[in-house]
Amino acid sequence: MEFVSPEGLRLDGRRPMEMRQIRAEIGAVTKADGSAVFEMGNTKVIAAVYGPREVQNRSQQINDQALVRCEYSMANFSTGDRMRKPKGDRRSTEISLVIRQTMEACILTHLMPRSQIDIFVQVLQADGGTRSACINAATLALADAGIPMRDLVTSCSSGYLNSTPLLDLNYVEDSAGGPDVTVGFLPKLDKVTLLQMDSKLPIDIFENVMQLAIEGCKAIANYIREIMLENTKQLEYRRGI
């Protein structure tokens, strides 16, 4: 199947190095301590953060740092065909773990000993790249909750189809069987915190593909910063400063 036309356009009309339209909104869940909606094209996720608060299960308490927990869930209507999933299947458990580890790496957990931070991500629409969208949403929600972080971790995926590196795969491109590289990146510190790839790829090409994903992460980080600045200005305005 042809994923990149001779004119250099992808199935949804993007150029190979073009990202889908991204949109973010802070404060979607009123009752949570911090929350955000993040959209990448047709992928849409909500993240809510509760905490830092008292540890609910005493046996999990850590004496010198905060306990970070994460749960990823998909709505029944999020996929094209309606699914009736059992809660906590292997895929969502794995994604929960990935998000937790990525977020834990950037939260300054040692500042909040004996407390707990819960991150809940809910997928409303899935069109490829839910992992990345969830991490971006979680970052915004953590920032909204005012949780101290090293940096704003962002995530983006890239792939390699028809001998072309492609940025930010959608569902059709993702299920084409080519490699799918998901990168989590700390833009200020210039460090990669998450790296996953399936399928195989020559090393020299992998370098390009990963670099492309990192560029995507940087672009998202800029956007997230803009959104946060805008949100803070709004808060400032409401307080009448």
Binding site: V29, S35, I46, Y50, S73, F77, L124
Partner: protein
């Protein structure tokens, strides 16, 4: 669940007794309702309803199926509710399952009628394509994104809004299939049939706190309730379903009184909801 001090409890109860609640509302006033339609593009219809901090999404997906043999002239509708952990940390893992089931069953009771399918708020016979062979199965999936009390009313309103947003593809049935054969069908990509939602009831929950009852209770107010009655009323003023929750018993005369109050409130709610849905649909067409 809700940590309230004795003083706060007295404040809520006293406010309700004096007909001015913590947020300034009267006992029978709803919070402002915000309706958004078409929020989930891959569903046949969807809506998001916000009442104060309560935030729910409802979607409708239509699939072709076979009617059950006892009711060859009726389609099938199933309602599922899912409580997202984003709404409250206690819904994490399997924590939300109990509430989800309670809400799903209450909604089915209020909107779908009895086992025979008679008296349903949703007109099931309009879902039949070929009698006894093909019908539409409607899957209504609801998601609770944020919860601040009165979930059942919000979910009922969201389903009503989602159904009025629903377009069911027109189906062409190939002639010539006879007997037991399953006829071939052709689903149109362009022509959609709108659903008649004028008969779908609204749900009004009256929560009894002390000697009085209130509509649209917040989580704090719900924690003070002795019992609650959810009544679904359609436009004609007929009662389509009823659920009583809460531990305390109710005097039968109070139940009848609550029903008549709910009927009165439902008219206002129905009109308000209709105008909000129409405004949301108009806004969607423009954008």
């Amino acid at each position: 669940m809700v940590g309230l001090s004795l003083g706060e409890k007295h404040f809520i109860q006293g406010g309700i007794a004096q007909d001015i609640r913590s947020d300034g509302r009267k006992r029978l006033t709803y919070r402002p309702i915000n309706v958004e339609t078409g929020v989930i593009p891959q569903a046949n219809g969807s809506a998001r309803i916000r009442m104060g901090a309560t935030d729910v999404i409802s979607t409708v997906k239509a699939e072709l199926g076979k009617p059950i043999s006892l009711q060859p002239d009726k389609g099938k509708v199933s309602i599922y509710v899912d409580c997202s952990p984003t709404a409250a940390p206690m819904f994490e893992g399997r924590g939300g399952e109990e509430l989800s089931t309670e809400l799903s069953v209450a909604l089915q009771r209020s909107l779908l009628g009895g086992k025979s399918g008679a008296g349903a708020g949703i007109d099931l016979s309009s879902l039949v394509v070929v009698e006894g062979k093909i019908c539409w199965d409607l899957y209504i999936d609801c998601l609770v994104v944020c919860s601040d009390g009165n979930l059942l009313d919000a979910l009922g309103a969201a389903i009503k809004a989602a159904l009025s947003n629903t377009g069911i593809p027109r189906v062409q049935v190939a002639a010539g299939a006879s007997g037991d054969e399953q006829p071939e069908v052709d689903i149109s990509d362009e022509e959609f049939l709108q659903f008649d939602t004028s008969d779908i009831p609204v749900i009004v929950t009256l929560t009894k706190v002390g000697r009085h009852y209130i509509v649209d209770a917040t989580t704090e107010e719900e924690s003070q309730m002795s019992s609650a009655i959810s009544i679904s009323v359609n436009r004609k003023g007929h009662i389509c379903g009823l659920t009583k929750r809460g531990g305390a018993g109710l005097d039968p005369s109070i139940v009848l009184d609550m029903i008549s109050v709910a009927k009165h409130v439902s008219e206002q709610l129905m009109n308000k909801l209709d105008s909000e849905i129409a405004a949301a649909e108009a806004g969607e067409d423009e954008s």
